[in-house]
Amino acid sequence: MSDPTLPATIDTRPRSLSGDAWDDLRHSKIFWVSSGLALLILLMAFFPTLFTSANPADCTLSRQYAGPSGGALFGFDYQGCDVFARTIHGAGNSLWVGLLATLLAGVIGLFFGMAAGYFGGAVDAILSRGIDIVLGIPFLLGAVVFSGRLSGAGDDGVTAVTLTLGLLTWTSAARVMRSSVVAAKGQDYVAAARMLGASPARLMFRHILPNAFAPFIVVMALLLGANIAAEATLSFLGVGLKGDAISWGVQIAEAQKHARVAPAPLIWPSTFLAATVLAFIMLGDAVRDAFDPKLR
């Protein structure tokens, strides 16, 4: 006979922060909408040919500003290029730069944050002041200067923009990492592991990192959205992607000169850019809400 005061089935799985968060997320509409959108954009970036068979470099002046026809859903731009094909293919560069820059920022942030949080003392003081200094660089000014310096003549600017964004945006990741490491370091299980003779590296990577990782992932998702927007901004300002590189920023910069005559080539990449940034930031927000115990 079972005890009537207990529910018929008891969830016997071990409770963890990520398990709770997943339960939360499953019921969040924002999470599903934004991750659906993000997935669609990733698909677009890595398999553009699923969406369009047109060659984005196939431009003919005779089609300048022509309306939508056949596969060219969004019509044609100033150079007579298929706006739809260029927008789809533009996702690749925009996302690729955003992903790489975020990854770079993440690696730097993870390393510095963890070192600062774990060792504390002088190491923490030096690294934290370093973070403060980088935070003190005005983002756009720094980006314009670095990106202009790093890109050589003739290259398409992808490396320069990735490096610039990565080097300027790792600070928030480092700070988050540092504070979660500080919090985790004081936990009993860490003390237990230390008493059992675990090396600092083992402590850091096997015990502290997994528990400090969730907030870090959230920062990464938010940063990805911001970096995609920043790439477009730099390309728009003429210090980002160059030459024959296709990206939303380049497209917007080109189209805005002729926006009074033909607004469509400006509106479409702008819409895609806005939707992408929104998707990643919303996703990050939803995940953060799920992980933040205070918001429960």
Partner: protein, 544 residues
């Protein structure tokens, strides 16, 4: 705290994009013209000393401060202005220039023959490194002031000039001087209309052959307007009527030359009536100009010739048939109408229609768009798999280079990319080192309205702007014979034969002729922009 920063960054990025997009409509209150004066937009002049000033902005300003020896009538024939009579003897070698009496500089000094001789000697003297110095090279004795470097760019230095006076310049009396040329040149009278040949007052020199400090900022000329205050760099140059001027008196009392770094900002001022004349409406504003300005948006002919040069020192471009094939792959008319909205016209000759001797379509078949034939010819002659067009990114060339590349890609079925260099000087440098920079975008504005000016500097073996290493003895001979010919008609005949050699060899691809596309405010009328893209200040009037 968490995640706050990325949000903010995205917001800043968006705000900046909006700001930048909207900044074309920058406003400026000063210097709205008052009374019978006008405001004309220019770029910052590179130099204002006449012998050093070769850009179009400085030409505009100098044209208000100085009175030229000759100017051109409607048929582009030179007519005397500051000169009373220019006569020639000894088979076009010895020219006698007699000045009109009674003219004074703005400081009261009378204008004499010596003022011209001093200015020209200063300009030609090599150590002064004047940008317009080469204009004097037809005058006898120029070589003594400019000894040749024995080994080109090599380590050996050229000898110091032995004199700073050209032997070909001789003063006859206060108002007359004689110019002896090193070789006969029938059209020398046309050459001296250029601003490089303006006189300089005694006050310009602190000692013999040395320009006084600060003279360039406070020029003293012999023209209808004098400086009011100094040249305020990157801001403005104000000139006002010179009361004792004895020539044709302009109808306006003064001009403010307003200096713009961004021509789109100048255009916004024009639309708001804060600027009276803009001589070149930027390409990006062309689509809106007819609606914004209506009747006040005008076009007139100018001398601009745009083309693409082949680095003929590279093996893949040695074959003239490859060069012809690439030329035939380009649809000039389409780019002129779609990209430049009719502000340029398709070029199918090597000289501009503004000079006598121009023949329509002297280039013939190689300049006609024919994608099928182009591809056949290209494949038969084994043209390169990839074509690169290098351009300077500061000149607004991206749109048409992209369009040209798209056409080449479609016609020839080879890859074509536009390569950017930050400045023209970087391209020049790479060309000099014979690096593979692919095809190069080039342009030419004439210095004097003669067909020869489109030939010798661009394709002559030692031409000052022959960047592509093309050289032909037959071409050089024909150009020289033309310059020596007794009559302008005979000259033109020889020059046309030289042009025919270009059509066979295609060292460059002619693309377009320019036009002045200018606009003016509601305050002014009778606005004319001449062949050299200068506003005609003698006709310009304000509406009361």
């Amino acid at each position: 705290m968490l995640g706050k920063r990325p949000w903010r960054m995205a917001a800043i990025a968006a705000a900046i994009s909006l700001l930048v997009a909207g900044c074309g409509s920058g406003d400026s209150e000063d210097p709205t013209a008052a009374g019978n004066t006008v405001v004309i937009g220019i770029s910052e002049p590179q130099h204002l000393l006449p012998t050093n000033a070769t850009d179009s902005s400085s030409a505009q300003v100098l044209n208000s401060l100085f009175y030229p020896l000759v100017t051109f009538d409607a048929e582009k024939n030179p007519v005397e202005v500051a000169a009373e009579k220019i006569s020639v003897a000894k088979g076009n070698r010895v020219w006698t220039i007699k000045l009109k009496p009674g003219f004074t500089f703005h400081n009261g000094e009378p204008v004499t023959a010596q003022n011209y001789i001093d200015a020209w000697n200063y300009g030609a003297y090599k150590p002064n490194a004047q940008g317009g110095g080469y204009f004097f090279d037809r005058i006898a004795g120029y070589a003594d002031l400019n000894p040749l470097d024995p080994d080109g760019d090599g380590p050996e230095k050229a000898a110091e000039p032995t004199t700073n006076k050209m032997s070909g310049l001789k003063k006859i009396d206060d108002l007359t001087f004689q110019v002896t040329l090193s070789a006969p040149f029938a059209s020398f009278k046309s050459v001296i209309a250029y601003s490089v040949f303006f006189p300089l007052p005694k006050a310009a020199f602190s000692s013999d052959g040395v320009i006084a400090k600060g003279f360039e900022e406070n020029l003293i000329g012999n023209g209808p307007f004098k400086m009011k205050g100094s040249w305020v760099h990157d801001d403005k140059i104000v000139v006002e009527k010179y009361a004792d001027f004895k020539g044709v008196v302009p109808k306006v009392d003064g001009v403010t030359w307003k200096i713009y770094g961004d021509q789109m900002a100048a255009y916004a001022d024009l639309v708001d009536n804060n600027l009276d004349v803009q001589t070149t409406i930027p390409t990006d504003a062309l689509a809106n100009a007819p609606a914004d300005l209506g009747e006040r948006f005008q076009k007139s002919e100018n001398s601009v010739f745009e083309f693409i040069g082949f680095p003929t020192f590279l093996p893949q471009y040695k074959n003239p048939n490859v060069r012809k094939a690439i030329s035939m792959a380009i649809n000039r008319e389409e780019i002129a109408s779609q990209i430049f909205l009719g502000s340029r016209t398709a070029a199918k000759s090597f000289v501009s229609p503004v000079v006598s001797g121009y023949r329509e379509n002297s280039c013939g078949e190689p300049c006609e768009y024919n994608p099928t034939k182009a591809r056949e010819l290209y494949q038969q002659n084994g043209g390169p798999k990839e074509i690169k067009i290098t351009y300077n990114v500061d000149g607004g060339h991206k749109s048409w280079v992209d369009a040209t590349c798209n056409q080449i890609r479609a016609s020839l079925q080879v890859n074509c990319i536009g390569e950017q260099e930050p400045k023209f000087a970087v391209m020049q440098d790479k060309l000099q080192k014979h690096q593979d920079i692919g095809l190069i975008r080039l342009g030419w504005i004439m210095d004097y309205p003669l067909m020869e000016n489109y030939l010798n500097p661009l394709y002559g073996t030692n031409g000052g702007s022959n960047y592509y290493g093309w050289s032909s003895a037959a071409f050089d001979t024909l150009v020289k014979e033309g310059s020596k010919a007794a009559t302008p008609e005979a000259s033109i005949k020889k020059w046309q034969e030289a042009e025919d050699i270009l059509a066979e060899e295609m060292p460059v691809i002619p693309l377009r002729y320019g036009q002045n596309v200018y606009g003016y405010s509601e305050r002014v009328t009778n606005v004319e922009v001449d062949l050299f893209s200068r506003v005609n200040l003698y006709e310009l009037e304000t509406l009361a």
